[in-house]
Symmetry: C2
Subunit: 286 residues, 2 copies
């Protein structure tokens, strides 16, 4: 099968419709391009579980704030294409921003509450933009299964909730974060880091490991865990903590006393680069 690149959403929709009519299953991996091993782990799983694999590459303008990195977000379409080819992707859907959001565009999907905390507190309307574009992409690509990374934990939670609430006929798969050898979570934004920053960036996963360890040793007090993580991260000279939270993995409500599984999530600037990471920690088996 030859890799096809489609820009037109109507053509994409027609093909998806025809595939579904032939009872083919479609595995879908929505991305913003600049593919790394994290994305590829999703593509491989999609390849194993479906007849067709569609990857979308679209840097979604409505999920970026006015002061965020929309313009400088890495764009590597040629490399992305080669990687998709190698992984046996059938179609890259690569729409233009003008086709996705024509003049006079007005419709947004909002998942209340879940988008206002953690990253949402600092990235107003970010998750509205994410829910909206994923909803649009689902309508265009008509996937049987769609694949997301646990790295963007809040995004995955919001998309699961949207799918359930709006009765969207798709199965959501969330796969583990893929990491560099030293623990840094794969992210297209890692390319922004200078070599010195890159070294310091390890501290996010180190802080999560520390939290896991503290909970394993019996600590049940979130504030204590968060304080220890703070102390560790602040030792890095270019690190600036945006948030560290211990929350319920479904409702994202803050957890004071750790009794069951919690999501520990953090956002840290290393220099000018904002990085996120998270871990699901089960107090029983931590």
């Amino acid at each position: 099968m030859v890799l096809r690149i489609l820009r037109d959403f109507k053509k994409m929709q027609e093909i998806a419709h025809a595939l579904r009519r032939e009872a083919k299953t479609i595995g879908f991996v929505p991305t913003m391009g600049a593919l790394h091993r994290g994305h590829l782990s999703l593509v491989r799983r999609a390849r194993r579980e479906n007849d067709y694999v569609i990857v979308s590459i679209f840097i979604n303008p409505v999920q970026f704030g006015p002061k965020e990195d929309f313009k400088k977000y890495p764009r590597n379409f040629k490399t992305d294409t080669l990687l998709c080819k190698k992984e046996g992707v059938d179609i890259i859907f690569y729409p233009s921003a003008g086709a996705m959001y024509p003049a006079g565009y007005k419709t947004y999907v909002e998942v209340e509450d879940l988008g206002d905390v953690l990253c949402g507190e600092f990235r107003s309307r970010h998750f509205r933009g994410v829910a909206t574009v994923v909803n649009k992409l689902f309508n265009i690509v008509q996937p049987t299964k769609a694949y997301f990374g646990q790295k963007d934990a809040q995004q995955a939670i919001i998309i699961r909730k949207m799918v359930r609430d709006l009765n969207i006929p798709v199965q959501i798969r969330v796969l583990p974060t893929v990491r560099e050898a030293d623990g840094l979570a794969m992210s297209s934004r890692n390319s922004y880091l200078s070599p010195a920053e890159r070294k310091q960036a390890r501290v996010l996963s180190q802080a999560l490991a520390l939290a896991r360890d503290l909970i394993k040793k019996g600590n049940r007090d979130s504030l204590l865990v968060i304080r220890k993580m703070h102390q560790l991260i602040k030792r890095k000279k270019d690190a600036r903590i945006q948030y560290i939270c211990v929350v319920d993995p479904k409702t994202l409500a803050a957890v004071q006393k750790i009794k069951r599984q919690v999501l520990i999530a953090l956002a840290v600037y290393i220099g000018k680069t904002r990085l996120i990471d998270n871990a699901l920690v089960n107090s029983k088996y931590a």
Copy 2:
């Protein structure tokens, strides 16, 4: 073919999915029940244009304001079933409110601007509720074509916009308002009217006829047209005007000088019953 009544959305979704896989077309008429000849005109068109016809009956709680008529809205499921049977409907989808909006429901679809004017000015969040439930129903019923009445002009405009913006793979058909012999637009809410009120309710369509006549005679000033409509309606003792607007049929922006096709829309209380009506008037051929 026997009429089936389905309450479970998963079952409905499975059947719709199977039908689409067999390349059957599905015509969908979403309703709140209390079916009248307006609804039936939609059902008949759906019957002519599709392999399968699905009618949903669901009084959508999230499109009613706290002081509105959710509780007293007419419920005639038995009569509705008989009517659907007679018209050759294949499936009535009749979900519970608890299944459509389970505890912790959080996701809403909003079409900006278009839902804030006309009815939306007085029914805050009404159109958010409409867009959300129609989006959910489309995901469940997976229609090829969906049918709406011109009577609810703003609703039809918002749904068309949602479908286009979110790339929903459905064709929207909007059919003309069906009227009683004296011109009153068919509405389930007409059953609220006392005999004396019923007579006065003719004034809505009479005011629209007057507007059409004024424009036909060369009047191009919206304010003059609106003033004349006001004067006519105010002669009825139980009539209280909520709004009369002359707007662009796509953007719903107010029109001062009538140059091309306009939508003239009004909402009038007759006693305690809120009625709406509208007319598309083409200044060239009015």
